[in-house]
């Protein structure tokens, strides 16, 4: 028996025993597992960092999170960056759903022009990097249209995410069986009414999980707009590092903030989904 085989056999036996112990509360069991793994990961990272001789100065971090002025406590660079990240993401999310929705309907329409427009849009967006799209919009399109940096950022993000949202929505719509269209037709509903009352409510439920992960991608991708000097979370992080040299602390904090935003987002969507499932289907 090789070492690996022995190990596997050992794990099997342990699992068997764990079953015998009958850990009633899966939550406790999972928590123990989680702590166990976290412990090793932290140990591993800490050892690596020791080798780097990094001097942790977490106590200095507070300056970058909040500021104390005569008027009381106000947001520090990272929190005001967070505010902008949330703003850019929220506006882009709404716009991207609108764009995605229209593009999906174009794609499914009978008009050849509409189909071509949406195909070209999808292919262009999905086959070029977001960074390049951002630069194109900021350096080429925005002077022509006379729009500012903020609008360019929002436009680029919405167009980019909208393409993926469009495909998600389209997949939801075509997953609805033909019989639903026929039933709607037979009671006289128009095309628009059929979409609104019959197809979209079902399609939406179907693709909600995919839309959720698209929203999370959007929040993460919004970090890229820092490249056109939008002072959102990532940009503020970079600036803060250049003046304080708290490289690790700040990157960890920035990462943690993204993690928190997205965890909240997941949670909200999860609750939403649960509630919808209770109501019907």
């Amino acid at each position: 028996m090789t070492f690996v085989q022995g190990l596997l056999a050992g794990v099997d036996e342990l699992r068997h025993k764990a079953h015998l112990f009958k850990i009633r509360n899966p939550f406790i069991y999972e928590s123990i597992k989680f702590l166990f793994f976290s412990f090793f990961i932290i140990l591993f990272v800490a050892r690596g960092l020791n080798g780097l001789n990094y001097r942790w100065q977490w106590y200095r971090m507070s300056d970058y999170i909040y500021e104390i002025t005569e008027n009381g406590i106000s947001a520090g660079p990272l929190l005001s960056g967070l505010r902008l990240t949330l703003f850019v993401s929220a506006v882009s999310l709404i716009l991207s759903v609108v764009i995605g929705f229209v593009s999906a309907l174009f794609r499914l329409s009978e008009s050849v022009t509409a189909v071509i427009v949406s195909r070209v849009y999808l292919e262009a967006v999905r086959n070029t990097p977001l960074l390049i799209q951002l630069f194109l919009i900021y350096f080429v399109v925005s002077p022509i249209l006379g729009i500012g940096r903020m609008l360019s950022a929002i436009l680029a993000l919405s167009l980019f995410e909208g393409a993926y949202t469009s495909e998600i929505i389209r997949s939801g719509i075509i997953s609805i069986e033909k019989g639903q269209w026929e039933a709607a037709h037979s009671i006289g509903l128009s095309r628009v009414q059929t979409y609104r009352r019959v197809i979209l409510p079902q399609a939406f439920r179907q693709v909600l999980p995919m839309l959720a992960s698209q929203a999370i991608s959007l929040v993460k991708d919004s970090a890229l707009v820092s490249t056109i000097a939008i002072y959102e979370l990532t940009m503020h992080g970079q600036v803060a590092i250049s003046e304080s040299f708290l490289t690790f602390e700040i990157w960890f904090t920035v990462a943690a903030i993204y993690l928190i935003i997205n965890s909240c987002l997941s949670l909200i969507i999860h609750i939403f989904e649960r509630r919808m499932n209770k109501v019907s289907i």
Partner: protein
């Protein structure tokens, strides 16, 4: 039993043909007239074009040749005519096709509310009446998935009736049902027939055809092979093809 007075012609199908994918001839030169209050039963082997004929009648399929006139309205390219026909012709499908995200109540009132733009109080009263008629009063706030197949099909009938149609089309309404649920759906259909609804029914339920059918149409390979009164059809079918088919379905216990 059949005291009803058959009225004027309400469906007029004139040499209609339909080809799928350039080669599958689903209908070949089909002509058919149905009068008000008449119950026409269509039978025939699988692939003979029964569903296609029915679907042409409410514009679910486009015809390529021939004409269809329903209640003096031609089913042509005019949107207004097509909409009128869609709302006047109710359809019941083999697989019910209820809207799964809506309650029974919403399934039934969607048409009247959004197509006919009726006041909601009025629609709600009618919804309850219709559910009483199809015998499902206690499920008004249930979702389709909470109902048995037979109940779902009865709700589907109520949904079609909610539009106050002049004509009801049924495409094998009982063939997706467990045998013990067939009866309850046929009962509702028989009631409708006795009330004088004009009906075109694709079914292999010969008991139903004998009891309420006025005319039987036998289709094969996209054509109407035989068309006769119910009595003649069962007692002395003319064509060999019909006899063969009849003997098959009657042997299979198609006669309830």
């Amino acid at each position: 039993m059949k005291e009803k007075i058959i009225g004027e012609t309400i469906i007029e199908v004139d040499s209609v043909s339909k080809t799928f994918d350039r080669r599958i001839k689903a209908l070949r030169d089909v002509s058919l007239k149905v009068k008000q209050k008449e119950v026409v039963v269509i039978i025939g082997p699988s692939g003979s074009g029964k569903s296609t004929l029915l679907r042409c009648l409410n514009g679910l399929e486009e015809t390529e040749r021939g004409s269809i006139i329903i209640d003096d309205t031609p089913l042509d390219e005019h949107h207004k005519n097509r909409l009128k026909i869609r709302t006047e012709v109710g359809m019941v499908f083999q697989n019910f096709n209820l809207f799964p995200h809506m309650t029974v109540r919403d399934n039934i009132r969607t048409g009247p509310r959004f197509v006919r733009k009726e006041a909601i109080d009025e629609v709600d009263i009618r919804t309850e009446d219709l559910l009483e008629k199809v015998g499902i009063t206690d499920k008004i706030d249930s979702f389709p998935r909470q109902l048995s197949g037979g109940q779902q099909q009865r709700v589907a009938i109520a949904r079609a009736l909610a539009m106050n149609p002049l004509i009801m089309l049924f495409d094998e309404p009982t063939s997706a049902l467990d045998p013990e649920m067939v009866g309850e759906v046929l009962e509702v259909m028989k009631t409708l027939a006795h009330e004088g609804m004009t009906m075109v029914v694709v079914t292999h339920e010969m008991g139903f055809a004998r009891e309420v059918g006025d005319r039987i149409i036998f289709m094969d390979e996209g054509k109407i092979v035989e068309e006769s009164s119910v009595e003649d059809f069962f007692e002395n079918p003319e064509k060999e093809r019909t006899k063969l088919f009849l003997s098959k379905i009657l042997d299979n216990g198609g006669c309830e």
